[in-house]
């Protein structure tokens, strides 16, 4: 490439050029600060406000109904000198973990197999290129559309739908649809890094292609795939839009994902913030739920980082 003409043209004074360079550097630092400040503000607010509502009973009790009499009850409790009600979020914590767990069980095996097809069988064929393109496009499908899709094909009773009504399973399906392309992409990227010599060595020993993939290629890429999958789980655990109208609602713990309404931390925060914002109980509950949700999402992310670090160290050894 030839250097652009602007570089070769006579420059204004050196001082002006260096001043411009300093301004650019400064702007880049300012950009960094402008992004870090809201991040700190959001996480700080969640920790401060969330910590004050979290207690042992908050994590282990059922969710209270917010009624129009709530303010009145709170006023009475104040007079009596005790807390009005024992509020909790246990059903939402269990719901989030179960729904995300089932989604992981659905999306990760399928995603890994899809990634194997793209890298090991499809290669640069026209059809594999089309699938790769569609996978990337699918990562851009809005999460609310996934919710509408699952509603249209699983929940609703009309049209060509399974008509299963709202359930945790419907939520898991929606999350799995969001995770699938992410896992496929991560798997394919990791498989690309596996040296061709490993495959050839396996063939030379007489192993068939399926045996080679299962016993040689996938183990070599396992660390990267696990870490990619964990990042997908971290994102999915915080998703609200795909769940909010397919899992229904409950105030008590529902461990059966296949029938009855369910509840997740994310949908609870949304409901509390959207409809009950004027009630202090609902606000406090939402902040507490936000803290628990961030802790869950963050632990999956940190786990992913840990796996990557171990993986890199093992490869280096």
């Amino acid at each position: 490439m030839t250097a652009p003409a602007s570089l070769l043209a006579p420059r204004p004074g050196t001082r002006a050029r260096h001043a411009r360079n300093r301004i650019a550097t400064l702007s880049i630092w300012v950009a960094l600060i402008l992004v870090v400040v809201p991040l700190v503000a959001v996480i700080g607010a969640v920790i401060v406000k969330g910590a004050s509502s979290i207690s042992g009973s908050f994590l282990t009790q059922d969710i209270n109904k917010i009624t129009n009499g709530q303010k009145l009850a709170a006023a009475f409790a104040k007079v009596a000198g005790k807390q009005s009600t024992q509020d909790g979020i246990k059903p939402a914590i269990i719901g989030t973990l179960l729904i995300t767990g089932l989604a992981t069980l659905l999306a990760v095996p399928l995603g890994v197999l899809g990634g194997v097809y793209l890298n090991e069988y499809g290669g640069r064929s026209r059809f594999a290129r089309l699938l790769r393109f569609l996978t990337e496009v699918m990562t851009g499908v809005p999460s609310i559309v996934m919710g509408l899709f699952v509603f249209s094909i699983v929940v609703v009773k009309t049209g060509f739908s399974l008509g299963w009504n709202v359930s945790g399973l419907a939520g898991s399906l929606a999350l799995a649809c969001l995770m699938l392309p992410v896992v496929i992409r991560a798997t394919e990227e990791m498989l690309k890094l596996v040296p061709q010599e490993l495959r050839e060595a396996s063939y030379a020993l007489g192993a068939r292609k399926s045996k080679t993939i299962v016993s040689v290629v996938l183990p070599a890429a396992a660390g990267g795939i696990v870490s990619g999958a964990l990042l997908a789980v971290a994102r999915a655990s915080g998703e609200t839009a795909p769940l909010v109208f397919v899992i229904g609602i409950t105030r008590t713990t529902n461990t059966n994902l296949f029938s009855g309404g369910n509840v997740a931390l994310s949908t609870e925060i949304f409901r509390n913030a959207l409809s009950y914002g004027s009630y202090a109980t609902a606000r406090n509950r939402a902040w507490g739920e936000a803290l628990v949700l961030i802790v869950i999402a963050l632990s999956f992310t940190l786990l992913a980082r840990l796996v990557t670090a171990l993986f890199v160290r093992r490869r280096a050894a």
Binding site: G114, L131, V141, S152, I153, F270, T301
Partner: protein
């Protein structure tokens, strides 16, 4: 371990003997992975077909003209009445105001997020001190993990009230300037508005644009950067002369993918945009978007209203699909050009 092949009678041809072990398993495995790969295509097709089927009432009774009508005041007869689920006469189901709101908020978000994202990407590749580059990458990835509902919660309970005063002073400043006073204004001027939604969206799409841009910047050949520096360019001139020309199409694609994310982002916007149907350039007024109105109203929607909300989802799906396909096209064209130039 050596396996001894079974004796083959001399009369038998090679192709007739016992099948080698594992051949069937090989074929089955291949087909299973193929099925998993094709699942993506099947799901994308099903998304389109099933949502169109559920929203057909809306599309068919009102036609395309309703998509571009700006009246959205859906009222249906309640359950238990003879005409349950049908539209009350005189109510509108037009999508245009929501399409406008979607485009407007994501435009605001993109204008705010692009300089920040490209700046941070440059920080992690060329500008920042070496010891700080990786930690900054981690922090930006951290931003991507914060669930959108948490941003929404923070936006509506923490940000919305104090930022109203900031909006008021900006509106006062621009009030005497002819065209800009239609944009930097609000009627009513509220903390839950297009601008707040744009701000929150900008924070949310910054990580994705940054990480995609970082990947693109990492492909700029070091020789070109060093060449520019050796010619006496300052670092900024090196970035403008060597880095940007090489990565322009990649950055454009990253921005478009970020735009797609902003359009589809639902929950945070649903909480901070204030829910009003209007086609107006006023930044400090409530508005609404396709995704947000679905999340706000779907729970109670019945009959034609539910059908219309799913139809809004179809419109959103098509818009984001187009943006994503265009982004990938820009990206692959850029890659081809780079390969050809080598």
């Amino acid at each position: 371990m050596a396996t001894i092949a079974p004796e083959r009678p001399r009369s038998q041809k090679l192709s007739e003997g016992p099948k080698p072990p594992g051949r069937e398993r090989d074929r089955v495995f291949r087909w299973v992975t193929f099925a998993a790969g094709v699942l993506v295509l099947v799901i994308l097709a099903l998304i389109f077909v099933s949502t169109v089927a559920q929203s057909w009432d809306w599309f068919s009774t009102r036609g395309l003209s309703t998509v571009f009508s700006s009246r959205w005041s859906p009222k249906v007869y309640p359950v238990g009445t003879p005409k349950a689920g049908q539209a009350v006469p005189g109510t509108g189901f037009g999508a245009w105001a929501l399409i406008f709101g979607t485009l407007y908020t994501s435009l605001v978000a993109i204008i705010l997020a692009v300089p920040l994202s490209v700046g941070i990407a440059l920080f992690t590749t060329d500008v920042g001190p070496r010891w700080l580059r990786n930690p900054v990458g981690y922090i930006i990835d951290l931003l991507a993990v914060v669930p959108s509902v948490v941003f929404g919660l923070w936006g509506v309970f923490v940000l919305a009230t104090p930022i109203r005063n900031v909006y008021q002073s900006i509106a006062d400043f621009f009030a005497p300037i002819p065209v800009l006073n239609k944009v930097f204004t609000g009627n009513p001027l509220l903390g839950t508005s297009v601008m707040t939604a744009g701000l929150i969206l900008a924070i949310m799409i910054t990580p994705i644009i940054t990480s995609l841009t970082r990947e693109v910047l990492a492909t700029v050949p070091i020789a070109q950067k060093e060449g520019a520096l050796a010619l006496g360019a300052t670092r900024w001139e090196m970035i403008r002369g060597a880095v940007f020309p090489h990565s322009r199409s990649g950055i454009v694609a990253s921005v478009m993918i970020g735009l797609g994310r902003a359009m589809g982002e639902t929950i945070a916007v649903a909480l901070v945009i204030g829910a009003a149907i209007r086609v107006s350039p006023a930044l400090f007024s409530p508005n609404n978007t396709l995704a947000a109105i679905i999340a706000q109203n779907f729970g109670e929607a019945q009959g034609i209203q539910r059908s219309a909300l799913i139809g809004l989802g179809v419109v959103l799906f098509i818009i984001t699909l187009l943006v994503n396909v265009m982004a990938r096209a820009v990206l692959s064209r850029g890659e081809r050009r780079l390969e050809a130039g080598k």
